[in-house]
């Protein structure tokens, strides 16, 4: 498990954990330039030179290769271990999509080509992928049209809220508020606020659903939209979703669907059919493209009919002669929200994934994701408090309150899991659950890997009762032991100095 060899572990310190700056040796070089044979060159003018020395570390090429190779062996990924990080949908990313994204015809294509005269004909394959991806996502979600441009989920949210603002402005209305339940993803209120709206937060009732009475009280014709995550961050699907949607439409507010949790309902119900006007998806969650640094992400946005004319440009169209082209003639468009057409490589991988699984496969994804989460919930609820005890969707949220009484907090459980080779679940989120542990196993895990994880969680619950210090000291087997997170936040030391 531990990528370090025994000797370095025994000393508790590893050469691999030194900063590259600390490996500096005066005069060491990775390569040497030949002497310039161009005569009459002048040194760079003073104003272009930096005032202080750059102090870049001097190392040999092998030093650098070893440094980064050893660091890379410390990476934790879904390719190496179970990764039940709630609400992130850390499913396995199948390798065949990587192979397709690496096809030369896609890889070497210049993004400006379709905008050059005659260039569009040389980029038909890629334009078709974009066109068809929009159509597939529209079919999956029940929306009229999609833009693939947003580069991440939160970027999609902001785009969606800007579309909502453009729609109301076009109607000659100035609406001030966006309603968000307190169980939403934190990015929802942020996106609304960045787009210039004031946020009204609706609390969650004892049943785990948005408090309907509070919602009715806050809803009026000054509300631009209601942003909902469904299933919510408790992993619970709101059975009154249709009523909530109708109430919003009655006062002229639009409905926004945060598709971060689409994995739970894919092929089972479509936000468009429920009456949602804007949907963002996270291709890096539901459609199995890599997350974060391995990504990048992609957050396409789908809209209902009345919002199509506001979608960002460029739009992809299919001409009568079955060729594909870019279309910029959309006077009401909110304009560009990203360069070119989004993260094309990511969209391509998601396209390949959707085609490979097909309709039946995508339905199965949702079914097994929900089954896996409920299996974890059922086996663990004897050992951990379950604040909202009902059938969950793709994730289950426990509370470590029982363990916290013995001094074992959610954070300690997370650290102990790291020691056991698991990525911890999301902790302390959603905020409405004390000592929250938010587990999302995803559909790609086998029963054996779920059982191993569950057994470890049960062992932790027993340790919390009988031998809490074992848990609170963790991790002990990692190259770096328990970090002082408080000091790191209070006195951040972000820059290396000699």
């Amino acid at each position: 498990m531990n990528p370090f060899d025994g000797s370095s572990r025994a000393t508790g310190k590893s050469r691999g954990m030194k900063l590259i700056f600390e490996k500096h040796r005066d005069g060491r070089r990775g390569f040497s330039y030949g002497l310039s044979d161009v005569s009459g060159t002048k040194p760079l003018a003073g104003k272009y030179c930096r005032a202080t020395e750059a102090r870049l570390p001097c190392l040999s090429e092998l030093d650098v290769v070893r440094h980064y190779t050893n660091l890379s062996r410390l990476n934790f990924s879904v390719d190496t271990n179970f990764y039940p990080l709630g609400s992130c949908t850390m499913k396995y990313n199948p390798k065949f999509t990587e192979r397709i994204a690496a096809f030369e015809g896609f890889l070497q294509l210049h993004p400006l080509l379709p905008q050059l005269s005659g260039g569009g004909m040389l980029a038909q394959g890629s334009l078709e992928v974009l066109y068809e991806s929009e159509k597939l996502l529209a079919e999956i979600t029940g929306m009229s049209a999609f833009t693939l441009q947003p580069l991440a989920g939160a970027h999609g949210e902001l785009t969606g809220v800007m579309l909502i603002a453009a729609y109301h402005k076009d109607q000659g209305l100035r609406r001030k508020y966006i309603i968000v339940p307190d169980s939403s993803h934190g990015t929802n209120p942020s996106s609304a606020a960045i787009a210039g709206y004031k946020v009204k937060v609706i609390p969650t009732g004892a049943d785990g659903y948005m408090d309907l009475e509070q919602y009715k009280k806050q809803l009026n014709n000054e509300v631009a939209a209601v942003m909902l995550t469904c299933p919510n961050t408790l992993g619970i699907f709101n059975p009154k979703i249709k009523e909530i949607t109708d109430l919003a439409h009655n006062v002229g507010a639009l409905m926004y669907y945060d598709g971060a949790n689409l994995n739970a309902i894919m092929g089972k119900c479509r936000p468009g059919d429920i009456g949602f006007d804007v949907v963002h998806l996270n291709l890096h969650k539901t459609f199995a493209t890599p997350h974060g640094g391995g990504g990048p992400g992609a957050g396409p946005v789908g809209v209902s009919k009345k919002l199509v004319e506001f979608l960002p440009i460029s739009r992809i169209i299919r001409r009568a002669d079955a060729t594909f082209a870019l279309d910029y003639n959309h006077p009401k468009s909110i304009g560009y929200i990203a360069p070119f057409y989004g993260n094309f490589g990511v969209i391509l991988k998601a396209y390949a994934y959707i085609l490979a699984l097909g309709k039946e496969g995508l339905i199965k994804v949702a079914e097994i994701a929900v089954l896996n989460a409920n299996y974890c919930q059922a086996r663990l609820k004897e050992y951990y408090d379950l604040p909202f005890d009902k059938t969950c969707m793709h994730e289950c949220v426990f509370s470590a309150s029982r363990q916290a009484k013995n001094g074992v907090h959610a954070l300690d459980i997370a650290k102990y899991l790291i020691d056991q080779g698991y990525h911890p679940p999301t902790i302390y989120f959603p905020l409405i659950v004390k000592e929250a542990l938010m587990i999302e196993p995803t559909e790609t895990e086998s029963k054996e890997s779920l059982d191993d994880f569950i057994d470890t969680m049960i062992k932790i619950a027993e340790l919390a009762k009988n031998n809490p210090s074992v848990v609170t000291q963790a991790p002990l087997n990692m190259p770096i032991k328990r970090l002082d997170e408080v000091r790191a936040a209070r006195q951040p030391d972000l820059r290396w100095k000699p």
């Binding site: 954070l411 302390y428 989120f429 905020l431 004390k434 997170e485 408080v486 936040a489 209070r490």
Partner: protein, 129 residues
């Protein structure tokens, strides 16, 4: 849970200690315990007009960032600048050294919207179940 008498409380776990026309404001022991180690505070500007129950400050811990709401309406008189460099004062002394700011409150009647120690104690027991 430390809930001193003679000061007032809000449902959002702020406290107000009233001395004449001036109120000292901070967050309660219960709030501090649910937040954990506090790492950052954003305080209101001196002279800012606050509205009861409206946002007035931010507090951030290793777990979460939270809004702090004004227990009363009025004008900010002084802020506890010590918290900027030593936010741990809130963990160590929520009701004394960890106060956020003082304010001159403008509406005596608003005190009726606050809880006394006994009611707050009951309120906290209710939500801790």
């Amino acid at each position: 849970m430390n809930i001193p008498k003679n000061i007032f409380y809000t449902k959002d776990h702020e406290w107000a200690r009233i001395e004449g026309k001036i109120a000292y404001v901070g967050i309660t022991d219960y709030a501090v315990h649910s937040l954990g180690d506090i790492t950052f505070v954003e305080l209101p500007k001196i002279g800012k007009e606050l509205k009861q129950s409206a946002y007035c400050a931010t507090v951030e811990s290793v777990k979460a960032a939270s809004d702090v709401f004004a227990p009363l309406s009025g004008k900010v008189l002084t802020v506890n600048t010590q918290l900027v460099t030593n936010p741990e004062l809130i963990n160590q002394s929520a009701y004394e050294k960890g106060y956020f700011f003082s304010m001159e409150f403008s509406n005596e009647a608003e005190k009726a919207n606050l809880m006394d120690a006994a009611s707050y104690q009951k309120y906290v027991e209710g939500i801790s179940k």
